[in-house]
């Protein structure tokens, strides 16, 4: 998370995995369900800081 600048682009692509909390900081579920893979991949692509890594 050190690269994350809390832009929230990922929230739009994968709202079940990423969210911005009350103080505008990003929170996420580290172990997302396989059904979320396509959304998380989309979130990975649009992250301005390229801060998201998918680990199998």
């Amino acid at each position: 998370m050190e690269k994350c600048q809390h832009y929230g682009q990922c929230v739009y692509e994968a709202p079940n995995v990423f969210k911005l909390n009350e103080s505008d900081k990003l929170e996420y579920t580290a172990t997302a369900d396989d059904s979320e893979l396509a959304n998380v991949r989309a979130a990975t692509d649009v992250c301005p800081m390229q801060a998201i890594t998918i680990v199998d």
Partner: protein, 395 residues
């Protein structure tokens, strides 16, 4: 055949495989590097000594099964003959071709047209060359007050350089985000010690062997060690000439990103992705436009990959008959000092821009309306509120 091996080209190849394309994929690139992320070049790459490996996109080669031909730019295309010619003289045939050749920086020529000491920023090689000369106390003149110019000003100021920005516009970013937003950006830069010379151009350079200064259009002389030209970009579409395409500003496409000839007929085998694609609006009756934002290559690549994969299935082509049209939401961000701008849509289309929330001198959100309809939003901070509004934009 994907022409352009930067982010747009890579994302197109990934999209093709994701939608089930089983044919061969070749990416041709002018640069000698595998695809990397450009935005850090003006920021962390300069400031924090990042390497190419730090900014390279991860590539799953075993899934992608693509060949990369690097350092060999495309020079000619014959669509009817299905042949692409490269600078090395190599010829390649194709069934489908995706044009994703991006932009190059606009360069000026001056009466005293020195080349040493002058820089631009677009590629890794540009950034490395700039990093090699940057040091505290260096005097830097930046020509241009757009996003690249302002980001460089912030990064180099933080590294201890003296910064003079020269720009033709009266207010930085006014054309993109409006006067109020632009004036606030200027104020925050000035607070950090950046000097602006606005409403002015650079008329000539001072120096004998290398740039030692610039002469402005009002006669002012600014001495400098480094001159950076950040005055916009030119689409790399020269290699597409000779096919009857409309190349007046990038390459004109239809609403599904197929390139169009001057008679308005779409090709069924040649597509455009990223900065060079000039595509029509869906909800606005305005002329087709190019969008130079980072998310456009991603969105257009995804679209084109899917379209090529569905091309041979009758009735499934996402085209005007089925009503599906490429209609991405442009989005951009910019980090300058502690200023972190985020925007969606096309604020420049607006004819009014009321403040939605916050204080201009602190965190705020502005909305941009055209004849009452929301066409863009932009803000500093207040991310959660800003992201909630993005779904309401109509373009």
């Amino acid at each position: 055949m994907i022409v352009g091996a930067a982010m747009g080209g890579l994302r197109t190849a990934e999209s093709l495989r994701r939608f089930g394309f089983t044919g061969g994929i070749t990416l041709v690139g002018a640069e000698s590097h595998l695809p990397y992320n450009r935005p850090p070049l003006s920021k962390d790459f300069l400031a924090k000594g990042k390497s190419l490996a730090d900014i390279a996109f991860p590539i799953r080669h075993e899934e992608l099964q693509a060949e990369f031909i690097l350092g060999d730019p495309a020079r000619s295309l014959d669509i009817d003959g299905s042949t692409l010619g490269l600078e090395s003289g190599a010829k390649h045939n194709f069934d489908y071709l995706v044009a994703a050749t991006g932009l190059r920086p606009k360069r000026f020529s001056f009466p005293n047209d020195l080349s040493q000491g002058r820089h631009v920023l677009r590629t890794y090689d540009d950034a490395r060359s700039l990093r090699g000369v940057v040091a505290p106390e260096r005097r830097v003149v930046i020509f241009g007050a757009g996003f690249i110019g302002l980001e460089l000003a912030a990064t180099l100021r933080t590294l201890g350089c003296t910064i003079n920005i020269v720009a033709i516009e009266e207010i930085p970013l006014a054309g993109t985000l409006g006067d109020t937003f632009g004036r606030e950006i200027r104020r925050r830069h000035e607070r950090e010690g950046v000097n602006f010379h606005l409403g002015l151009s650079i008329e000539d350079l001072i120096g004998t062997k290398r740039v030692e200064g610039v002469v402005l259009s009002d006669g002012t002389e600014l001495h400098c060690d480094i001159l950076i030209e950040a005055v916009g970009s030119i689409p790399n579409v020269d290699w597409l000439t000779g096919n009857g395409l409309d190349l007046s500003n990038g390459v004109l496409t239809d609403q599904t990103l197929r390139v169009m000839n001057e008679l308005g007929t779409s090709s069924d085998r040649v597509f455009a992705v990223g900065d060079i694609a000039r595509f029509p609006y869906v909800a606005q009756s305005l002329p087709a436009r190019r969008i130079e934002h980072w998310n456009i290559p991603i969105e257009s690549a995804k679209w084109v990959g899917r379209q090529i994969c569905h091309q041979d299935e009758p009735g499934s082509i996402p085209d005007l008959q089925t009503g599906e049209r490429f209609n991405p939401l442009p989005s951009f961000w910019s980090d300058q000092f502690s200023i972190s701008i985020l925007s969606y849509g096309e604020p420049k289309l607006s004819n009014e821009s009321p403040l939605v929330e916050g204080e201009i001198s602190d965190e705020f959100i502005m909305s941009y309306r055209r004849d009452g309809e929301l066409v863009g939003i932009a803000g500093i901070g207040m991310r959660r509120e800003l992201n909630k509004l993005r779904g309401e934009i109509r373009l």
